[in-house]
Symmetry: C2
Subunit: 259 residues, 2 copies
DNA sequence: CGCCTTTTTGACTTAACTCAAGAATGGTGG
DNA sequence: CCACCATTCTTGAGTTAAGTCAAAAAGGCG
């Protein structure tokens, strides 16, 4: 089976390596941005700390760091010691799971406001490999902080449960939506599911990624993913504005998705 | 696409219908078994209440009921009002998700000790349809009881988080294991994943289900599922002792699974 | 025992995989 | 700035696994 890409597991993990911008190839692994002021966080209402009150912040006795990553940067690898929960502040992250034979499958996408590595609160190693698809930032919250807040304030643990729930729902939808039906329908559903970004001229755009990643999300080969995207471009269902940036005809996509 | 079985959504839901054994066709929907004594529960160490202490039980102010179901009985349908969390005491339950076109996909199997319908603590309707594949029993815990215990004792909410985590892990494994690779490998992995039951002569047996359900778990057609099981029977990888009860050659299965 | 459902099998079609080569793209270094 | 290199993407041709439609066989139930 060549359905999924080979695992490259290249380079060092960003965890434990937060000391500054490390440039390798064209990839910036992690750049330290300082200690954020959670109370003033621009996306706090989306984030893990959404419900915290003034008093709760006093319970934080370890630094929360803000780190920024380039596309391709690895947040952590499966099996790495899990010492922090991350809150995504921008960009897009894939969670990858490896099979026995070295092939891989992308099990979820993480978007701004979502948490990454929640399992750190329960066990001492990460379950997936987390890789940035689009550059962005995370707040790195040491697991001791999460544990302490969770013990002391119900406001955090409601948020935690909500996040577990959200991840599970996403996992179920991922299975039914992106792993079911023919390849064309899967691509269409994926495109519909992707975040849209506003452009200068007002057209919503969705940013796509490598055909290999596409294949690993949908459980099809790179070539099949490529062929379908190419075909959609030719038929005008999607319209490439810049490299891998597409304006989508959502109605057409919906009908392709078999809805 | 005919990949998955048509949604029959037949019959009434067991929820709200706990007043006694309802026999329709050959299916017993639900039989009321009485109010269990949690403290003395035989599988309590597996169940949601594993960590509760004597004082905690005093917080339970609504009855927990014990209900038994036959194969094919529907615990609840997707969208039904979610008024209880269930703890599975025996048997096997499938969680089904429906797609826009009416086809279905089985997203998870629930085994004894696992909880069903945890989303009831967060929202007012169930996300899946839950159906018994093998007859068994559940304890039905009103959502108010779970909420109250969760507010009052950290011992429950650790169990709750653990269960969310376990479900998510299972979802991820389900995707990579049962929705990846060719049909033969998927069937092999499913068989390896199924619980084994001891028989009189000591051979571990695994109880299989309809080809339609098999297809809906693996994302293949009923015919493909049937063909592969038939082929495995012929080649001796599995050995049918009774109807849908198989002795498995696990080493052979592992090699088929592409491990 | 006969009816109905599920399973199995067959024949055919088609979607997706495989292998391979050529085109495009982006980065690198002269 | 441009030429070159390494990827990644696209496309083609051939193969194969899985889907489809249909009918026969097997099981289970009344």
């Amino acid at each position: 089976m060549r359905t999924m890409a080979e695992n490259e597991r290249s380079g060092s993990t960003a965890e434990d390596d937060e000391g500054g911008a490390v440039v390798r190839g064209s990839r910036i692994d992690a750049a330290w941005k300082g200690l954020p002021e959670c109370r003033a966080c621009g996306i706090r209402d989306l984030a893990l700390f959404a419900d915290l009150e003034e008093a709760d912040f006093k319970l934080i006795h370890l630094p929360i760091e803000e780190l920024s990553y380039g596309a391709g940067a690895v947040l952590y690898n499966a099996g790495d010691p899990a010492r922090a929960v991350m809150s995504l502040r921008g960009g897009l992250v894939k969670l990858v799971q490896y099979l026995g034979d070295g092939s891989q499958r992308i099990v979820r996408l993480v978007r701004p406001g979502d948490s990454i590595g929640l399992e750190a609160t329960l066990q001492d190693s990460y379950e997936h490999t987390a890789v940035f698809l689009q550059p962005g930032m995370v707040c790195r919250i040491p697991v001791e902080v999460v544990r302490r807040l969770n013990d002391e304030t119900p406001r955090l643990h409601h948020q935690l449960i909500t996040r577990w729930h959200r991840s599970l729902k996403q996992a179920d939808d991922w299975l039914t939506g992106l792993s079911t039906g023919n390849a064309r329908a899967r691509v269409a559903r994926l495109l519909l599911h992707l975040p849209r970004e506003a452009t200068a001229d007002g057209t919503p755009i969705c940013v796509l990624f490598s055909r290999e990643d596409l294949g690993a999300m949908l459980g099809v080969t790179t070539e099949t993913a490529s062929r379908i995207i190419a075909e959609m471009k030719r038929s005008g269902v999607i319209n490439e504005r810049k490299f891998n940036q597409f304006a989508c005809d959502d109605d057409a996509l919906r009908s392709l998705s078999g809805e």
